[in-house]
Amino acid sequence: MDAELFLIRYLHVISGVMWIGILWYFNFVQIPSMPKIPDEQKPAIGKVIAPEALFWFRWGAFFTVFFGLALAWRSGYLVEAMTLQQPNIGIGMWLGLIMAFNVWFIIWPAQKIALGIVEADAALKPANARKAMLFSRTNTMLSIPMLASMISVQNPIM
């Protein structure tokens, strides 16, 4: 049981580092750098780096949630957390679920259009790029309390 919980927690943390690491790369590095990159070099980001980063980003989100829910279930606090009877971890789990929903159902579909991964009217690209950016920023904002909530399970804040 201890080894099983260790493995699930380890995979949860590794996936989470992948997810939030790439989220912060997008928001702290890529988005602010885009205006400084010459136009002829921009396709390197849009056609090569961003699609690759988005692959690891969305699957990192998926497996963070998957292993997080598995950890809560195997530890016996899934229902208590989700119903906020254990609010410290419960709020973090809800924030994580909202963020993962944003990744899979808003950011990724919008990025597919913005980056030309799927066929779409060119006029739709700017609006979808903005939508993806705003929801990515929303996730960056939510990641701060989410991580505080996760850590507070081991180290209570108050």
Binding site: F28, R137, T140, M141, L142, I144, P145, S149
Partner: protein, 49 residues
């Protein structure tokens, strides 16, 4: 809201503010779930500390 999210610094500040709000909400939920004897014991422990 979009104005905050367009600015990375404001986004981080909003995240910190949300964290503080979350801490107090968490405490409020814990307090609301405590029975009267548990609340009395918690008060006593706080006075001791």
């Amino acid at each position: 809201m979009a104005k905050i999210l367009e600015d990375l610094k404001l986004t981080i500040i909003a995240g910190v503010v949300l964290t503080v709000v979350m801490i107090f909400v968490t405490e409020a939920i814990y307090d609301s779930q405590m029975s009267a004897p548990e609340a009395a014991a918690a008060d006593m422990m706080q006075q001791v500390n």
